[in-house]
């Protein structure tokens, strides 16, 4: 098997009428999705698309995921974009990728041209009216290799320019095996998907559908403000499995939701992307009898790389382990002397490691490095920048970052990206972004004449919501360390003056 498309074709044969994706407007069955992707793939081939990035900019929906598969069928790789990423992020993606084609819907066209897109914007609905070209699809499928790119997903970059992670088909297939084994997904599962479609996090649900025939219901984003209607939604759709970022789960547990309503059908609750507070996990486990899984993995290694199944209670302040690597993935720790150790930087090797960053040799070279334990032949692995340790039970624990990257509201953030955006605002001279871990609060300290409200309005237009500072401080000059660098620790204190 070369790509996950073969899984789609199999499922469409086995269970054509089973709902695959349900969103607020429609339900698409496995055969609907296969048929849509055939039409979109044929339409792309007809326009000459081949082995190139195709932007998919649509409302978060089953139709958007079907478009991903359509891009694969044309032997191209998809670049998912969503309005909530903000104009600055979308612009820098367009600058880096310069795609010739975009698949869009009504929600996207205005913003896309405002962001300077000059290629062909193809309306998904119109493309679906075009006929399938089986011969063209067969040719495209034959020329596709399992080492070809499957997608470009962008993550925050420290200089302001996001990095385009090049996901690979064979890594996606491998991930389909590992994640479904870990989640024990099957055809009776219905996933309630929280993840946006422009991050690799959404692969957990998509691959469970492709590999096991599970159904996926896209939970509307607005429900993540109202915990009781959110849980009622899960019950109405008989959701059995969740793979959510930590803040989405704690939204429910921290706001006394279980006093009013309890999820009735859940069997699997997986979380990741941030540290789960033991108190919140305890509230969940007291009210909902399910398997709880702590997942960990960087986008550069295709979704998640390791997991821990919760098998004991953790006191407040304890670290919940991230456990053990998936099958066919190895994780080890390297200390400051470049030697394998029980505490150090997390390195990951295996098929899961992606091809690097798109059109970005420098940053690729810094993170995708020769295995420091192998001097015999070339072997590239991913250096995460995360620190870990092996605990007394032999489980891996996540300790934090080596640099200024943080995890906030389920997203990976480089403080440099917020600073770079702030410096482009009129009236801002210098800016220092800070993160108060205790309060989980992102802040910005700046110099210049810009008013706080004007600055925030300007940032709101440029950045995704999760990159917006929750507190700002206007100062005469930024605090510096002895080496003359901006002193983030001192700047954090200025936020609360």
């Amino acid at each position: 098997m070369k790509t996950a498309l073969e899984l789609l074709n199999q499922q469409a044969q086995i269970r054509p009428d089973r709902p695959m994706f349900t969103d607020e407007t429609e339900t698409l069955t496995f055969s609907d999705v296969a048929a849509r992707s055939d039409r979109l793939g044929s339409a792309l081939v007809r326009r000459g698309a081949s082995r190139e990035p195709v932007l998919v900019f649509m409302k978060r929906s089953g139709a958007m995921i079907a478009a991903f598969f359509g891009v694969w069928k044309a032997n191209c790789f998809y670049v998912p974009v969503d309005a909530e990423m903000g104009e600055a992020r979308i612009r820098s993606i367009l600058d880096r990728v310069r795609p010739r084609f975009a698949i869009t819907d009504d929600s996207a066209n205005t913003l896309l041209s405002a962001c300077g897109f000059t290629g062909d914007a193809l309306d998904a609905e119109s493309l679906l009216k075009e006929p399938v070209d089986p011969a063209a699809l067969e040719t495209a499928a034959k020329s596709l290799l399992d080492s070809d790119p499957a997608y470009l997903v962008f993550t925050s970059g420290s200089t302001g320019a996001p990095k385009g992670v090049v996901g690979v088909h064979r890594a996606v297939l491998d991930y389909a095996d590992q994640i479904t084994k870990t989640l024990r997904a099957d055809e009776t599962d219905v996933f309630g998907m929280q993840a946006p479609l422009y991050v690799d996090a959404c692969l957990k649900e998509i691959l469970s559908a492709l590999k096991c025939g599970s159904g996926v219901v896209l939970v509307p984003k607005r429900l993540f403000m109202t915990p009781v209607p959110l849980v009622e939604f899960l019950n109405a759709h008989r959701i059995t499995a969740l793979c959510w970022v930590v803040p989405a789960l704690t939204l429910i547990s921290a706001l006394h939701t279980f006093d009013a309503v309890v999820p009735a059908f859940l069997r699997t609750v997986a979380f990741g992307s941030e540290v789960m507070p033991p108190k919140q996990l305890r509230i969940w486990r007291e009210h909902v009898n399910a398997r709880y899984l702590n997942l960990y993995g960087p986008t550069e290694c295709t979704g998640m790389s390791c997991f821990y199944e919760v098998d004991r209670d953790f006191p407040d302040g304890a670290r919940i382990p991230i456990g053990h690597a998936f099958d066919n993935t190895e994780i080890f720790l390297i200390d400051e002397n470049g030697k394998r150790a029980s505490e150090g930087e997390i390195y990951i090797r295996g098929t899961a490691v992606c091809h690097g960053y798109y059109r970005d040799p420098e940053r690729t070279k810094a993170a995708f490095v020769q295995n420091p334990l192998n001097s015999d032949y070339p072997e590239t692995l991913y250096r995460t920048g995360d620190l870990g340790r092996i605990n007394e039970r032999g489980e891996l624990e996540f300790l934090g970052r080596r640099d200024d990257q943080i995890k906030h509201m389920g997203h990976r953030i480089e403080l440099g990206e917020l600073e770079a955006a702030a410096r482009t605002v009129d009236g801002v001279n210098a800016a220092c972004a800070v993160f108060d871990r205790e309060k989980s609060l992102l802040g910005l300290v700046y110099t210049g004449a810009a008013e706080r409200s004007a600055l925030l309005l300007a940032l709101r237009a440029k950045l995704p919501e999760y990159l917006l500072p929750k507190r700002t401080a206007q100062v005469k000059s930024l605090p510096l360390t002895e080496n003359g660098k901006t002193d983030r620790k001192a700047a954090t204190l200025l936020l609360y003056r």
Partner: protein, 77 residues
């Protein structure tokens, strides 16, 4: 009311909370803002906001939110 406005302005200084009536529906309050907001309200006003009351009609304006807090505080007394 002033105390509530301070909490809200602290989250989103760019918003005019005295007039805005679409805090939730207009997407001004972000997805996970709500936990921080409620935690701060519960601390400041010494109330517990029941989960069933966390719905858009109570959170779309500072006025509606203040009415909710007052109602809960009165029931507690």
């Amino acid at each position: 009311m002033e105390q509530l406005l301070d909490i809200l302005r602290d989250l989103h200084p760019e918003t005019d909370f005295e007039t805005e009536t679409r805090l939730v529906d207009g997407g001004i309050l972000a997805s996970f803002d709500i936990v921080m907001l409620i935690t701060r309200i519960e601390e400041a006003f010494d109330v517990v906001i029941p989960a069933k009351d966390i719905v858009p009609e109570h959170f779309n304006s500072a006025k509606a939110l203040y009415a909710l807090i007052t109602k809960i505080a009165e029931q507690d007394d």
